[in-house]
Amino acid sequence: MSFTLDRRTALRGMVNGMAVAVGLPLLDIFLDGNGTAMAATGAPMPIRFGTWFWGLGVNPPRWFPSAAGKDYELKVELASIEALKHKVNILGDFTLPLDGKPNLPHISGGIGIRTGMAIDSDRGLPGPSFDVSIGDVIGTRTRFRSIELSATGDPRNSLSGRGNGNLNPAEVSPAALYTRLFGAGFHDPNSATFTPDPAVMARRSVLSGVSEQRQALEARLGAADRQRLDQYFTSLRQLENQLDVQLTKPAPMQACVVPPKVPDLPVNAEIENVMRNHEIMTDLLVMAMACDNVRLFNMNFNNGASSLTRVGSTITHHQLTHEEVLDNRLGYQPEVTFYVDKCMEAWTYFIKAMDAVKEGDRTLLDNSLVFAHSETEFAKFHTIDNIPMMTAGSAGGRIHTGQYITGDGSPVSRVGLTLQQAMGVPVDRWGTGSLETNKIIPGLIV
């Protein structure tokens, strides 16, 4: 009893925004000797995948290391990741050839990286984003297939979806996220008792009744609408899955502790609110992964044409990138750089929060692969070659970490291809047009 209290107390500190390393006692009953599998079932520890997006790039000379290879040098704009540098890869010098299509500012870059396609006109995602393909492999057995988040408000701030312009909307409110993750329907995996809820069983059978009507409707559809209906039924399948999970006794998860409720907080693009909402959403997401309720996530810190603002400023981060004078003495735009630093500070918070959760000898971060990227290299000129990217975590030992990897001008789709392969997606060729590639990044995969 007192043990439970201690764990809760320790984690509460984390949820309040301090990324402290929580010294949870190693519970041998949960894990096998080396922390790679759960003792109770012998099942391997879940490997998670997620993306972390920030808009408007960096100041390249102040961010990219000078030389490729291991033990890279940390430039000033990346200084905050120092403690976790050995778990982070920096990726640079990849290109995004558009094959004559226009560079839609703040749109082509992010979508190109995530779909391997150069977008023609601004009609949303032209094809599936690769996180969705990874979700088809790792996301089908958890309560949530994936969790999308936006720390700046706007549920449309998302780069994840199955294509045709549709996207997985982002959760914007920390309080709503809490309810979704830990409200009704959450089952503490460490609870000693488990009784399947007959009401859930009834709902489960009713949903299969809905999916049985698929055939009658599908016979009436042309190809385009049939594809849309397929997506609906994929979503329905996920809903059924959630109920299946609720009807199955969950495997114990060592680090899972239900976090305290979060209050209703303002949701907008003002930077201090964004930082706080990002921290709270990060803590909730990390705990949902520690409880194995979800293995896939997409966190959007800000949006592509970043609407971040500061109290007292007449214009946004995005406008600043265009309108602020390049300070010749400093060599960069100081007001813009304030936001770049905030983005990197938030990224550091995010990976530290994942690394603070112990899973045996490893951490949740070690058992994950997080892909961070922006949508431009240098926003003032909308450049989309050499877009800054990172990975964090080793996906349970499948990824080499701690290196600066350069693409030497090869297409950025190699990154998406490599990450999909690392996560078990059966794909050996990915991307369209000049972005089509079958060349993974060899130094990345173990």
Binding site: S146, A202, Q231, S235, R237, Q238, L239, A269, G312, K380
Partner: protein, 572 residues
């Protein structure tokens, strides 16, 4: 069957149906007319010509109309993505539902069903009582679910559907649960079914054009209802569809005529303009508290409502000319907006009519603070954003994006004493011909509005310098917002734009020849004196809108799908 029920019946279709002593807006139920709400669909369902996801407002209005406005719809709606330069209505025709979106729809559905079958409410929605509240009762379940399904799916359910939902109710009533638990589950299943979440437009062979298709009766009922009233078809419309009246042009026109004259047209007009004018942007609008201390959440929420009230008053209540919307001096204000307009409104009054003085530069839709604030930066006005919005939203003239590699060195610096006004700053910026090309399109329409700041408050000067409000449009020079409003009112582009949008809104698709459709509609619109009722009536009844361009499907090949072992998750 006393007063309160009659009052409810006006809203709650189901309650009205079951307590048929009330006849408000309903066809009477007599022994002579077989009761359509308890009959399955007679003809098989046709090929699907379109699937349009319900918008949040359509979902809410439908639930309120079917079950009564006291049913709470609590939850977050997956946004429908707007294709650039198009309507949410056309986005809805391509919209899917993501796992997170369906999760939300499912939670809402269960919540609504629980309210409908709550002990104090269910009697209104049930024509029978179960033999035993602790056990399934297929007969009573069927009799309750058939009318509900008919309203939710906007057509009678098929025999198979009735069987499926009754079976769900039965399963849900077993295992320690009672009859009403089963009913809740079955109804929640209807509410997450694609048949409800999508307006499914089904087609039938067109006798007038062998080999091609037209929308069938029930699809037409839904089209009329969502277009004109932004809600689900009522009993009268469903009955007209059951009786096959809506494929007859004369009867369709007569019914549409009646609907256009109803006060409920206001809901349709509001929804149309909220879509055309990108009102979803109001949700994201943020103003800087230090620059604009007067701007608060009450002001923010009043801005869009003020614009809609002005639009409804001019176009629906007064049945005025669309062009006068840009010059009218009549608007509405409430207490929150009072300070912005330098007018006093007491908190008792709510929204009150307000008339600008003659020559007041506020006249017309573009002088309203909502438009001015939405197309501004968080801390200052923007002639470029305003000009672009006028071009794209009101004239349907897309403005190119700034080139990706443009160098903004001739920058806007609000604090620069040498460049006190936006016009001077933009002139400096436009010394670069690459920039000037696009700013020439936008700025002459935005600069006349410069006497209104970033939240739409009036100002005479910017940084103590006088503001020049000269503008030019289609070769005519003018001054200020009043001049701008007159210029827009005089342009064919303005009326063509709204006419084309109305067609896209009605059909959920871009016409194959966008310009020709808009021009043809504009001619009729002009002949009707630019009355919005007439325009809506035109798009609601034009044969083109009901024609189906996709060819008939070959006989459906369902054999490969019949294996009960194939499920979504199993296929590669």
């Amino acid at each position: 069957m006393s007063g309160p029920f009659c009052h409810r019946a006006r809203w709650a279709l189901l309650a009205g149906l079951l307590l048929s002593a009330c006849t408000v807006e309903k066809a009477p139920q007599t022994a002579a007319t077989p009761d359509a709400s308890f009959a399955p669909l007679k003809t098989p369902l046709g090929q699907v010509a379109g699937m349009r996801r319900l918008t949040e407002a359509q979902y809410r209005n439908s639930i309120a109309d079917i079950f009564g406005p006291d049913i709470k719809v609590a939850g977050r709606f997956e946004p429908i993505v707007r294709p650039v330069h198009e309507l949410i209505a056309t986005g809805a025709s391509a919209s899917t539902i993501s796992p997170a979106g369906l999760e939300q729809f499912d939670a809402m559905a269960r919540n609504i069903a629980a309210q409908v079958f709550a002990p104090d409410r269910r009697a209104q929605f049930m024509p029978c009582a179960p033999r035993d509240a602790a056990a399934p009762d297929a007969d009573c379940a069927a009799r309750t679910l058939m009318p509900i399904g008919r309203y939710l799916f906007r057509r009678p359910m098929t025999q198979e559907e009735i069987g499926a939902f009754v079976m769900m109710a039965g399963k849900g009533a077993g295992d320690g649960q009672g009859f009403y638990d089963g009913m809740q589950l079955a109804m929640a299943a209807m509410l997450v079914s694609p048949q409800f979440l999508y307006i499914i437009e089904s087609a039938e062979p067109d006798p007038a054009a062998p080999g091609s298709l037209r929308l069938d009766n029930h699809a037409r009922a839904a089209r009329l209802s969502y277009l004109l009233w932004n809600t689900t078809p009522n009993e009268a419309l469903l009955r007209a569809a059951d009786e096959g009246k809506l494929t007859d042009p004369a009867q369709l026109a007569a019914i549409a005529q009646k609907m256009v004259r109803s006060p409920r047209l206001e809901d349709g007009v509001r929804a149309f303009f909220a879509d055309m004018l990108l009102f979803e942007k109001f949700d994201e609008m943020a103003k800087d508290q230090i620059v604009y201390p007067r701007f608060n959440p009450d002001v923010a929420s009043a801005l869009s409502e003020q614009m809609l009230r002005m639009i409804v008053d001019q176009l629906v209540t007064r049945q005025g000319d669309y062009r006068d919307l840009f010059t009218t001096r009549r608007t509405f204000i409430n207490r929150a907006l009072g300070p912005l307009y330098q007018a006093k409104v007491s908190s008792m009054q709510g929204w009150v009519p307000y008339e600008f003085g003659e020559g007041d530069d506020r006249a017309g839709l573009l002088g309203q603070a909502g438009f001015l604030a939405l197309y501004s930066h968080s801390g200052r006005s923007s002639p470029t954003l305003r000009g672009r919005a006028i071009r794209e939203l009101l004239l349907c003239q897309p403005v190119p994006n700034p080139p990706g590699n443009v160098n903004f060195t001739a920058v806007q610096d609000v604090g620069n004493k040498a460049m006190p006004t936006a016009r001077i700053r933009l002139n400096a910026h436009n010394s670069d011909p690459v920039c000037a090309a696009c700013h020439k399109i936008t700025d002459p329409l935005g600069l006349p509005l410069e006497r209104f700041d970033g939240i739409g408050a009036f100002r005479r000067t910017e940084n103590a310098a006088p503001i020049d409000t000269a503008g030019v449009f289609e070769g005519t020079a003018f001054q200020g917002n009043v001049g701008l409003g007159q210029a827009l009112a005089a342009s064919k582009s303005t009326t063509e734009c709204v006419a084309g949008r109305a067609f896209q809104y009605a059909t959920g698709r871009m016409p194959e020849d966008e310009e020709a459709t808009a021009m043809a509609l504009e001619q009729g619109f002009a002949a009707d004196g630019y009355r919005i009722q007439a325009l809506f009536l035109r798009v609601a009844t034009m044969a083109d809108a009901y024609r189906v361009s996709t060819p008939p499907l070959a006989k459906p090949q369902v054999a490969m799908m019949t294996s009960p072992h194939i499920r979504e998750g199993d296929r590669p």
